[in-house]
């Protein structure tokens, strides 16, 4: 039987230390290796391989989020200052946290400390939400990577508090463009279409087999994601309020349940801290087994309600090392690795300890409850093993068949290290203000409807079971033939109650290419718009941030990230939405054969969740009746920078949308009131492609047409191209029937609310501008164009 190896580090010089880190795929820096050397010199021995692995995992970017906790020396050049100004930022994480602390929302139950953010749902229940990324694994093996991505975030929900029941999955993907020529691909890089299909299949199979509806998300395509795709997976769960707190006490047993441990996913945590390179070992790839996780879920829900354990966490990145380490952090633990159920026998102790085999959870079990827990697990056919107990020694001691293979001081392991100060630099991009001339707006609208970013994602969404658990109220698609896109999903998770939650997202990397600060505001605005358009309450909305960024040791890339985080802070405060959870995935870049580096476009996903009193007081996006009035809420300005129109025309110019939180929040609150009062027949937000695309999508879902008078859209009329395709934030298209227009207009008195047209019986879009017929397109053609882009 393999034993632990002793790694000679006490005598090593800098070069040797770095070599140990590199050879062991530990991703530890020289400073960190020196800290380790100092610790072991002090206790007078060399570390074992297991100890080094545990340290590397605990301190990895993935588990410790070093960059988000680091001080940053930030130099900025902007229009106002002209000269570079440098200041020190305590940490990016503190900026995000500041929002939630300042807003003091009493319905935020547990934020930034558990596996997921937890908010109040009703008098007895809480809901929790977590979004993770699984980018590197999905780029290497799309099916397995995406499947284990969703499997992992489901376990986060199972490990939040004492465990929540997963009720909804969300997913957002970013791929390279699907028409990229095969012959131009670098060796070892999969074609975007293959990645697309693989990722979708992975999420579909895992989510469907777990019996969790997948009902919200987005899919983006941009050449910048050719080498590094992004796969965001989210899960929402529901749990009783008493189950929010976990408690680990000395003497509690450490019980691992679920999947067996193999060599899968070894070094996932440290690997995710590095960029994608060639010569990837097979072991970093994991294949999920949703059937095992489903059994774990069922058993846990029974055991939780019988209060058979006092704490729980999932085995994610870093495996048992991370899970047991986290639980034991404030007390201590003794672990016997020979008790861990293995897939095969020849695993070394360190491999057992850091393996990232899927579908495993770790519980802290009071010894008197163990027999009852065993019974539940056996009844549900879930494998389990007691692998040790929690102690009060503040140390973790790991045995393998009577040998001590590791012993570390947990206070030292988890102590806040002095992180190196990072340098970041940001220079505002100056963009020329261009208005495209001589464009055929009919052709452009059809081209935009055929833009894969805008086009229908039905081919993907229908592969997901979005109905299982039978509580999906506003579904991913709406309208008479289920073709119209919904802005958000609404679910009513408690049987017999109309109380519900609304879930949506906002993402737009193209604004970030122009201005990452404004991108953050736009993403928050979009996520909230989607929530409010379906009936969500802007004052009871919480958000999650997920940053995916390129090469962050490059001060310019880091500078953009800092600006984006500042944007998150400032705009979240302005919109009064607290962050409840977040995650960062850094180093999404690729080194080409010639040494050049390709970073992804800095990408922020904002996921939003809102609790509403009554799911009957919601609305969908499809037009409902001929003759009804069409309104636009919000101001349309010349915001074409980063728009889909400028992407289509290949224009790198223009002002990207500038959110107007104060105004928008007023509009949102009033719109929420109007929807609650039943004044709104349909509602859709204006996002990619602007007003023209928004109205087209409302038509496509309904079979009705629309007549729009463009000069009514804005106070000061601008070029028709701007009015049609500008992506100004905070705007909604709303359908109101004749009987309710007075009431509706009264609610929006003194706010930008303009009547711009009517719903017509014939399935055609007609747009007039100052008495002239500007655009007329057959609805069937629009529908065919919009629906026919993504094929399998």
């Amino acid at each position: 039987m393999a034993r632990a190896e002793i790694i000679e580090i006490c005598t090593g010089d800098d070069e040797k230390l770095l070599e140990i880190s590199k050879k062991g795929l530990l991703s530890l820096t020289l400073d960190e290796m020196k800290r380790i050397q100092k610790y072991f010199l002090k206790i007078g021995r060399n570390p074992t391989d297991l100890e080094l692995e545990m340290i590397a995992q605990t301190w990895s970017e993935h588990c410790f989020h070093k960059l988000f906790k680091s001080k940053i020396e930030f130099t900025e050049v902007n229009g106002q200052t002209a000269k570079p100004v440098t200041h020190i930022i305590p940490s990016m994480f503190s900026m995000i946290r500041q929002v939630t602390e300042n807003l003091k929302k009493n319905w935020c139950v547990s934020v930034f400390k558990d596996n997921a953010g937890i908010i109040k749902f009703d008098d007895t229940n809480c809901v929790c939400f977590k979004v993770e990324t699984h980018n590197h694994p999905s780029a290497l093996e799309p099916y397995g990577g995406a499947g284990t991505g969703i499997g992992g975030v489901i376990r986060d929900i199972l490990g939040a508090g004492l465990g929540a029941k997963p009720i909804l999955n969300t997913d957002v993907f970013c791929f390279g463009t699907l028409d990229f020529p095969h012959e131009n691909l670098d060796p070892g890089i999969f074609h975007p279409k293959r990645l697309f299909k693989g990722v979708v299949s992975g999420v579909r199979d895992y989510g469907n087999r777990m019996g969790i509806p997948t009902a919200n998300g987005a899919i983006l395509f941009d050449p910048g994601y050719l080498y590094n795709i992004l796969v965001y997976c989210g899960t929402v769960g529901i749990m009783p309020q008493w189950a929010v707190e976990k408690k680990v006490e000395p003497g509690h047993l450490i019980v691992v349940i679920g999947g067996k441990t193999g060599r899968d996913g070894i070094h996932g945590a440290t690997f995710s801290s590095a960029s994608l390179e060639k010569d990837i070992p097979t072991s970093v790839v994991q294949i999920g087994n949703p059937i095992i996780e489903k059994k774990v879920l069922d058993a846990l829900m029974i055991a939780r309600d019988r209060k058979l354990y006092s704490a729980i966490t999932d085995c994610g990145a870093g495996g048992l090392s991370s899970a047991v380490g986290e639980l034991a952090q404030h007390c201590g633990a003794e672990v016997h690795l020979e008790n861990v159920p293995l897939k095969y026998r020849d695993l070394k102790p360190w491999e057992i300890w850091v393996s990232e085999s899927q579908e495993r959870m770790v519980l802290a079990v009071p010894s008197e409850k163990f027999e009852q827990l065993k019974k539940v697990l056996e009844d549900e056919d879930v494998e389990y093993a007691c692998i040790g107990k929690f102690t009060s020694t503040k140390k973790i001691k790991i045995y393998h068949q009577n040998d001590i293979v590791g012993e570390l001081d947990l206070r030292w392991l988890f102590q806040k290290a002095e992180l190196p100060v990072q340098k970041a630099y940001y220079e505002e991009r100056k963009m020329a203000d261009i208005i495209p001339e001589n464009i055929n707006v009919e052709e452009v609208l059809l081209q935009l409807l055929a833009d894969p970013v805008i086009a229908s994602k039905e081919i993907v969404v229908r592969q997901y079971d979005h109905e299982v658990q039978s509580h999906t109220i506003v579904k991913p698609f709406s309208g008479i033939d289920g073709k119209g896109p919904s802005d958000a999903v609404v679910i009513a998770p408690v049987y017999g109650s109309y109380r519900g939650i609304v879930v949506a997202c906002g993402i737009n990397p193209w604004y970030g290419k122009v201005d990452p600060y404004l991108m953050a505001g736009c993403c928050i605005d979009e996520a909230m718009r989607n929530i409010v358009a379906c009936g969500g309450d802007p004052e009871k909305t919480a958000v999650l941030d997920n940053f995916c960024w390129g090469k962050c040791d490059d001060p310019v890339e880091l500078g953009k990230l800092v600006k984006c985080v500042q944007g998150c802070r400032d705009f979240a405060l302005a919109y009064k939405v607290p962050f409840i959870s977040g995650k960062d995935s850094l180093n999404n870049f690729y080194t080409k054969e010639d040494g050049s580096i390709v970073s992804i476009p800095g990408t922020l996903l904002i996921s939003a969740i809102s609790v509403i009193d009554d799911v009957r007081e919601t609305t969908s996006s499809d037009l409902k009746e001929s003759g009804n009035h069409i309104y636009i809420l919000g101001e349309t300005r010349r915001h074409l920078g980063g728009s889909r129109l400028f992407n289509l025309l290949n224009f790198e110019a223009g002002q990207c949308p500038v959110p107007e939180p104060e105004l928008t929040l007023k509009i949102m609150k009033n719109l929420h009131r109007a929807i609650k009062q039943g004044l709104v027949k349909s509602c859709h937000d204006c996002s990619e492609g602007g007003m023209a695309v928004a109205i087209s999508e409302m038509m496509i879902g309904s079979g009705y047409g629309a007549e729009i008078y463009l000069e009514n859209v804005a106070e000061r009329t601008d070029e028709p191209v701007v009015l049609l395709f500008s992506e100004s934030q905070g705007r909604f298209i709303v359908e109101v029937d004749q009987a309710h227009i007075d009431k509706f207009e009264k609610i929006f008195k003194n706010l930008p609310c303009r009547r711009i047209g009517r719903v017509t019986p014939d399935f055609r879009l007609k747009i007039f501008y100052k008495g002239k017929n500007l655009l007329e397109i057959d609805g069937e053609l629009m529908k065919k164009t919009w629906c026919g882009v993504l094929s399998w």
Binding site: L140, E141, H182, D264, N289, K343
Partner: protein
């Protein structure tokens, strides 16, 4: 697989009259690669059953666990690495170290059926191609670009 005498392949495919959505999707992907000479792709689930097994036991496993009698046909034959297939085809198998959840489930089902033998299973896919002038290098490209991920899969081209 160690003992080829006791290593069988169970090959399960859709009945001929049924529409093969998966095969069709792969054919589309092949055409997107630029190989217009391919006319059809047949997809089979293949199970390599070995260890403590007999032909009779393999038949029992096929009939009771793996086969959907309404939609599928099954073929059982002794495993061999010789390339004696009639049509060009490729088999895609997980590499040895990769966890094979379907195989794990199949082994569990065998135990649940009351079979005590130490049966081992590997799961794979087999793709059989028809068309004009198919070359081995085309299948190699198709395997690497569409069907197999060499990080976790091995593929074996046969019949050409």
């Amino acid at each position: 697989m160690e003992n080829l005498e006791k290593s069988y392949i169970i090959e399960i495919g859709l009945k001929e009259n049924l529409f093969d959505a998966f095969g069709n999707e792969i054919l589309n992907s092949i055409k997107e690669l630029g190989f217009d000479n391919f006319e059809k792709v047949f997809v089979y689930d293949v199970y390599n059953v070995y260890g403590d097994v007999s032909l009779q036991l393999v038949k029992q496993i096929t009939k009771n666990i793996l086969l959907d009698h309404v939609a599928h046909n099954a073929k059982i034959y002794k495993y061999n690495n010789k390339k004696d297939e009639k049509k060009p085809c490729v088999e895609v198998w997980y590499k040895k170290q990769v966890t094979d959840p379907v195989a794990m489930t199949a082994i569990k089902a065998i135990k649940d059926l009351g079979i005590k033998n130490d049966v081992k299973i590997r799961c794979g896919k087999k793709y059989v191609f028809s068309g004009n002038n198919i070359k081995k290098d085309m299948i190699r490209q198709i395997s690497e670009k569409i069907l197999a991920n060499t990080l976790i899969h091995d593929y074996i081209i046969k019949g050409i």
